[in-house]
């Protein structure tokens, strides 16, 4: 439709569409994200809303699948939402980006890490209406490679990657690149799939390769079992990973004792003393009875960034808000101080965390 005039202008609510993985394989991330968004919205509305208007969220389920994500996107457009948050998975986000640009509706993918989400690979043009809140794989992979090479002083690394997740494969790629540059070598590359439960075979192979460190850029559910099984098999090397590890479940699944010498890169540390983080963690725990995980945090941030942009724009006009989003800089989010670069990707610091008695402890901070 040619008329991009905002329907929200006249109404007394701002409608946000959340396109999330509420069912299907990635449902646990989608529901965390939903919690994060709900919490952000509640905070905003309790504080009087935005521009004097309340925020209202329509949720749409994309069954963790690309087609359905496109379908959910259309559903939200049909509901006349003003802005889109989601989808979480890269594949879901990729299925929506063209529509966002076409309909000129700003969209923030909280957790989509694939570079193509914000930059059209065919034309190398930035997609004008698409943003993301998570770091892209480059930064995190690089940060961890540096940590492994410099702090852990490792020369030989085995990579155990989630073959069904482009997030994991993205981290793997950039980790390997950077680690190679640092003069390290990758002695084994193994892969698993989401929902796998038995990792012993690949671990046996990794064990035989005798690496100094094992890099497992996956999600906590599988990673927990991987760490547990690796330790049971007598593998004592440090095991490191990315923000997908961030959940209290990790310690439960892996067992606190097994988490010795495990490190991961993250957006924030839940024992970061900053007020934003502390408030977020305690409020989240109050509301949902569990500690927030990474998808919850970045979804919360996405909503907050969007709110900030609306505030900055002092309007709900889509183009104005989009322009305001581009100017976001130094925004104090749970997942760090966020600025958008020219590719609509957030520039923020990363932290490296470790565990003590199953609790995350802060190790170091990596600036971009």
């Amino acid at each position: 439709t040619g008329c991009s005039g905002s329907s929200g202008e006249s109404s007394d609510t701002i409608k946000i569409g959340a396109n999330l993985e509420l069912t299907g394989n990635s449902a646990s991330y989608g529901t965390s994200a939903k919690n994060g968004i709900e919490m952000a919205v509640k905070e905003i509305n309790d504080a009087g809303g935005l521009l004097g208007k309340k925020i209202e969220v329509s949720y749409a389920d994309n069954r963790s699948e690309a087609t359905e994500a496109a379908n959910a996107m259309q559903k939200l457009l049909d509901d006349q939402v003003d802005f889109i948050v989601g989808p979480d998975t890269s594949s879901g986000a990729l299925a929506c980006v063209a529509t966002a640009d076409q309909e000129k509706i700003p969209m923030i993918s909280p957790f989509g890490t694939n570079p193509d989400i914000t930059v059209d690979p065919a034309t190398h043009n930035v997609r004008p209406y698409v943003f993301r809140a998570a770091f892209i794989d480059t930064f995190q992979g690089k940060a961890m490679a540096d940590f492994v090479a410099d702090t852990l002083k490792a020369k030989k690394v085995a990579v155990y990657v989630d073959n069904s997740s482009d997030y994991s494969k993205g981290l793997q790629k950039f980790f390997e690149e950077e680690f190679g540059k640092k003069g390290g070598s990758i002695v084994a590359t193994e892969a698993y799939l989401q929902k796998d439960t038995d990792f012993k075979a690949a671990l046996t192979k990794i064990k035989a390769a005798n690496p100094d460190v094992i890099y497992v850029p996956g999600y906590y559910q599988e990673v927990g079992m991987i760490i547990k099984q690796a330790r049971e098999m007598g593998m004592t090397q440090p095991i490191v990973g990315g923000d997908g590890w961030d959940s209290t479940k990790l310690a439960e699944i892996a067992g606190a004792a097994n988490l010795v010498d495990c490190y991961f890169s993250n957006h924030y540390s839940s024992d970061d003393t900053s007020e934003v983080v502390q408030n977020f963690v305690s409020n989240y725990q109050k509301a949902y009875g569990q500690k927030p995980d990474a998808p919850a945090a970045v979804a919360y941030d996405s909503m907050m960034i969007l709110a900030q942009a609306i505030k900055d724009a002092n309007s709900t006009d889509k183009d104005t808000v989009k322009a305001a989003l581009e100017k976001i800089s130094g925004f104090n989010a749970v997942s760090g101080k966020i600025s958008f670069n020219e590719f609509h990707d957030p520039v923020k610091s990363a932290v490296v965390l470790s565990f003590k008695d199953g609790k995350q402890i802060f190790v170091t901070k990596v600036e971009p």
Binding site: N163, E190, T197, A201, K205, Q221, I253
Partner: protein, 297 residues
């Protein structure tokens, strides 16, 4: 180098057998229901999931130890199996098989998403209820739980084989599977027999759910899909409906997966598992233990 390769091979064999006995554990119930009903009960994997949740709550909320928890799970899933059969499959007994299969898919989705709605999609972790010591023997690693699971699946296989082949109920089950009408004329209560079959098959799945839940220490509402599928593959591999076949199929599948992961590439693990299945079926179209029966003309 020779030595370590050999060691690796044996370790992978152990890994494979341990993984395979889990497939076998689920496949036993699968094959049993199939053997009698000729129905691929796609909800079987989800009953396994429910079993692990029942076990989880029995242990965490009610504080039951391992054995009572597993029994509780078996009872509950046994009942669930019978209820599902009664409500969703029985009315379709005289319909085309593929109709029941479709309903089974519906039941499967229903169980998955009701659980997800009720208990959230987040994974849960089992408390420590079963000894999880690990033995390191000359470079090989094996855990107590692996041994338990293997032994339980072997014992269950033996019991089931005996029940189906030598007890009156077992014979009734077989008769019903060939010709329900004729079975009725023998004085067999077809409804009861089928209910019983579902009860046994489902409670096996329930037991497997608890064991596997404890072993991997993580359960979630969609955990039944892949093992269900693999167990189904295992059952077919061995000759669907044949109890020792399910066991063998499970072990073969597990070992193939371990060997492919260990010596080829873990990326092609599942593809290799399916490829083995297809190759075996092409050589023996009714599975390893399946009788190559031809319809008499």
């Amino acid at each position: 180098m020779e030595g370590t390769l050999w060691l690796q091979f044996v370790q992978q064999l152990i890994n494979g057998i341990s993984l395979g006995s889990i497939y076998a554990l689920i496949a036993l119930g699968y094959t049993m229901v199939y053997g009698i009903m000729k129905l691929i009960n796609f909800a079987h994997g989800d009953i396994y999931m429910i079993g692990s949740y029942v076990g989880f709550f029995a242990i965490t909320a009610m504080g039951l130890p391992f054995v009572p928890a597993i029994l509780a799970a078996m009872v509950m899933t046994g009942i669930l199996g019978m209820v599902v059969e009664r409500l969703a499959y029985k009315p379709l007994r005289h319909s085309p098989k593929i109709a029941i299969l479709t309903t089974a898919i519906g039941v499967s989705l229903f169980l998955e998403y009701t659980t997800m709605l009720a208990l959230s999609p987040q994974p849960r972790t089992f408390p420590h209820v079963l000894d999880n010591s690990v033995y390191h023997i000359g470079g090989l690693v094996i855990s107590f739980q692996q041994i338990v699971i293997f032994l339980i699946s072997v014992v269950l296989m033996l019991i089931l084989t005996y029940v189906v082949n030598y007890t009156k109920m077992g014979k009734a089950m077989r008769a019903v599977s060939y010709d329900p009408d004729a079975a009725q004329l023998m004085g067999i209560n077809v409804d009861k027999t089928i209910s019983f079959t579902f009860c046994i098959g489902s409670s096996l799945a329930g037991a497997a759910g608890v064991l596997v839940g404890i072993y991997y220490n993580s359960i979630e509402p969609l955990m039944g899909i892949m093992p269900g599928m693999k167990a189904f593959v295992a059952a077919v591999l061995g000759g669907i409906g044949i109890i020792p076949g399910a066991m063998t199929g499970g072990i073969i599948l597990g070992v193939v997966e371990a060997m492919v992961s260990g010596f080829i590439s873990s990326t092609f693990r599942d593809a290799a598992a399916f490829a083995i299945l297809i190759i075996i079926l092409l050589i023996k179209p009714t599975g390893l233990f399946g009788k190559n029966e031809r319809e008499k003309v």
